[in-house]
Subunit: 331 residues, 4 copies
Amino acid sequence: MILYILKDKSDFSTLKEKLNQNSASYKVLSLYGKNLVLAWPDQNVKSISDDSIEIKVEVKKPYILASNDWKKQPTIVNVKDVEIGGNKVVIAAGPCAVESEEQVLTTAKAVKRAGASLLRGGAYKPRTSPYSFQGLGDEGVKILRRVGDEVGLPIVTEIMDTRDSPIFKQYVDMIQIGARNAQNFSLLKEVGQLGKPVLLKRGMGNTVEEWLQAAEYILLEGNGNVVLCERGIRTFERSTRFTLDIGGMVAAKLMTHLPICADPSHPAGRRELVHSLALAAVAAGADMLLIEVHPTPEKALSDAEQQLTLESFEVLVNRIRDLTRALGRDV
Amino acid sequence: MILYILKDKSDFSTLKEKLNQNSASYKVLSLYGKNLVLAWPDQNVKSISDDSIEIKVEVKKPYILASNDWKKQPTIVNVKDVEIGGNKVVIAAGPCAVESEEQVLTTAKAVKRAGASLLRGGAYKPRTSPYSFQGLGDEGVKILRRVGDEVGLPIVTEIMDTRDSPIFKQYVDMIQIGARNAQNFSLLKEVGQLGKPVLLKRGMGNTVEEWLQAAEYILLEGNGNVVLCERGIRTFERSTRFTLDIGGMVAAKLMTHLPICADPSHPAGRRELVHSLALAAVAAGADMLLIEVHPTPEKALSDAEQQLTLESFEVLVNRIRDLTRALGRDV
Amino acid sequence: MILYILKDKSDFSTLKEKLNQNSASYKVLSLYGKNLVLAWPDQNVKSISDDSIEIKVEVKKPYILASNDWKKQPTIVNVKDVEIGGNKVVIAAGPCAVESEEQVLTTAKAVKRAGASLLRGGAYKPRTSPYSFQGLGDEGVKILRRVGDEVGLPIVTEIMDTRDSPIFKQYVDMIQIGARNAQNFSLLKEVGQLGKPVLLKRGMGNTVEEWLQAAEYILLEGNGNVVLCERGIRTFERSTRFTLDIGGMVAAKLMTHLPICADPSHPAGRRELVHSLALAAVAAGADMLLIEVHPTPEKALSDAEQQLTLESFEVLVNRIRDLTRALGRDV
Amino acid sequence: MILYILKDKSDFSTLKEKLNQNSASYKVLSLYGKNLVLAWPDQNVKSISDDSIEIKVEVKKPYILASNDWKKQPTIVNVKDVEIGGNKVVIAAGPCAVESEEQVLTTAKAVKRAGASLLRGGAYKPRTSPYSFQGLGDEGVKILRRVGDEVGLPIVTEIMDTRDSPIFKQYVDMIQIGARNAQNFSLLKEVGQLGKPVLLKRGMGNTVEEWLQAAEYILLEGNGNVVLCERGIRTFERSTRFTLDIGGMVAAKLMTHLPICADPSHPAGRRELVHSLALAAVAAGADMLLIEVHPTPEKALSDAEQQLTLESFEVLVNRIRDLTRALGRDV
């Protein structure tokens, strides 16, 4: 595969002609303000040159657009006025599941005051058991929207079904792809087409390379607003719910220009571990944290063990703030 | 959770009344010719008795309908005239991906002659990379249908998107849920509602318990025609593509009444290992095998390394036949 | 690394001279009746030829002597009159731990009658907890020896400490290296020097390649009597104690000339799974099985859950016999 | 199991009598300045009371002495004048393998100047391949000793064989048990008896619970000077050499009173990842770091890819110093 980065405003009709003459396949897309052409197979494309081409990159990796081989500068993903991938470490916080407007409102006010920049909450819930609380669905999305607007926080929530894309288009600021849909390629293409910022979790059984290939599905639809989220992988260890792969997260940062988020809540599986995992992720270079917070965790309808109280979250944000300053960043 | 198995043709209006009086939640469904009521929470339901109840089962496991706590007899899933879960070991064979009508037809004739009872082939392909062949889609499904009818083999193929359910309803005999959608709960509910036989693969990062809970999603929609398929899990070992979890497959057989299939092709990742893994799975008690076969594997558009030739497949079926006879079964 | 297989009875003083002249390092050893010279680095050795050389093998793998690149014929390991690696599937059976002479004698008689060819039993026990029964030590080894002689079965038992090699030299027919010492390189070298047959378990966290490299440590001491034993690896799955890696075992068979054993007891972790795993391993091509059997498993001082009763073992051997015949082998 | 913590200077002859009268088994040991009695089985011991007993702890976990159920205060392990487990984060640094006196001396001077408090280096090397450099053995230990004395740094190096304990007793300040010997129980008992500080690595296939049980073997010999070292576990991920289990490390800290060390070099497997993993481990609460540093890493005889240069190590220590201050600690 060859990637051509075209000169701004260039006419690439002659390039297309040459590709056709060489029986090459190609795809044209626009990403991060650049016109790009992906062309293959290599032997048909290698020798082509054209005035419209600014840079030609021969990509050997199984992901191309997600790689920093062609885009050296880190990408900043904007969710309304929140910049993810810049100097500030962005914190998204909120309940595991949207249970009621009051619950979300209480949480949203508290996390904003403490320093969160995004409100998270699950409306459609992917639950291992069909007997577990399945979420409020559309109504949950609308609660998040109302609370987000009232409190002044952009909202991030998970999509589970391609058929739900209209409501996500209308109401949601950042669309989360959960770990269980990390290789649901139909859904990845769909959120690619929606164009909204995407928070893409790594599947619990997926390698870093597969995670970047999942991002590639979204980017290939012309949507470059992807934040990668490490949330723990499946290993033999049982003292934690999942194994937060800090090393994989750091390796990913060396491979991609996309910002990286860490979710310390799911791998922890219990409150006592969340602070340490959050601090570790920030020290390792995470650009964003996704943290579950609930006004009364012990009464939560899901993930009761791992959600932080409002007080504990505030303490954590203060610790993160101290840490980021030592690292030359901020919250 | 309490499961009531109702007497045949019983009137359960008084049971419903009692459940309502006790502020219990309940779900009524019909499965395997039995009327069932699932009721909870336990403390509200425990003391209820009613004439309509044949058996009352207190279930402690996170899956209920999939468990053999209430249904001791193995379930037989019928795909047209093929019985899965009986004394015969059923073999489904065919190419990884549908590439052309000719390719499928050649394969179908050969695998039928060798002893296969079902024709498999991928029309919608879940590919790790967006740059890999994505399958022929609807056209692939129709090719399978035509070839299946011509050769006289029921067809099994994978669904990837809830929006595709109409075409699966119209054309497909057995619907496969792939490993990457093993916890795509929207899709599980959708195939539950379609009512057709389902071949449910275990996710590469899922425990046996989670696999049974995925089946539970389908059963809870009233569709009991589920065959579980072990296809290898993610481990640190690199000499195989995935680790075929024969132990997990055997453990599952002790937990459920559903038939169990093994896919030796994907964990093998290369042809030389497929025979041994297939034989091991049958010796361990698999009711069905799903095997990739291609007339010219080296030219295949996907999984070229692991597809068997037509000749090798025939040799394998003969070896399986010998083995099953030693075990008191047949192909 | 270059491996020279020398002609029988050849004088290789000129080869040594040439190696010295080229500043090459080399190691001379005798294995399987062949004189071998390993020489490196490649660039210093490549061009050397000599009359003493029968075959010159350039080895690219990280294991050499264990590889079937140079030795195509399967190795048969003789433990007294028992042949491991031939047409018969050899069964070693006995209690997890030696508890008393009576216990071992009862078991030995029964397993011999049922069809076992080797008596196993632990005298030095590697226990995860220091509070668990640590074995009878030297006295356990002597009990095994006396019972083995009385019943007429060669014995296999585990070594844990290099300092115990004298007692193993004197009393034991086949020395087991357990999973927890699979990369205890001092111990591997020690049993290499003892020259007795070795049953080398794969470590629970080791790849197939590392397992073969562990065997290489033994072979490099001139001891070619190594049987590799797959006993389950650590994965996220919890329905079994370990994941028996049948695929890894089959892959190993394609890489080495050494015989391969499977231990179905430890991965099973509970009796109900042992039969199926044993049958699967044999169907996949195992040359030997190592099975825990106890006259009264529920009273066993270790691994009570997974040891078979004498009756159940007999049933299993009969099933294995049927299976091996279908495969053209025997017990 | 019941643990009695005895009053200082108390006479416990009557307690022993009572235990004997109740047919209880028991073990007496002295640890952290306390006389302890472990007694079992519970039903024989439960009702015993005696004047010599200060506190009686019923332990339900599979590790007792390593647990913080009975010893709430964190243990500080002293290696000469270096305190591990206190407010300072202790850094041990040095080459993977001792190659020459000059190499070690150059490294030792540089790492001391940068802020390291301990000198590490391998003399006996556990190498996966018998063809890899196996270390200088005794001579390596003596080099470390001479350099340590010259530069003024206590030394830590790995033991591989129980037969080497005399040289470790004579020359070494802190004895490392490597990952491959993490369940070599003979070796654990041996270093327990030596009484010197032990750096106990977690096995690559071991759970946190098994790691604490390995420590228990050492403590049960009366040696309480154990530092636990997380160095990465085996998972399916391939972008790093091992997966540094920060969550497991944090979970361990909640379970034990022993100090915890992290080794960022081995899980990284390549230099570029070491800084981030080291910072993450410190942020998560590590009391010590073990870091591979080499004057000319590209020429190293082992682990060439992952050793830091002297310059890079200095940069890292400065970053760690900034981080620890933000956390209220120091280097």
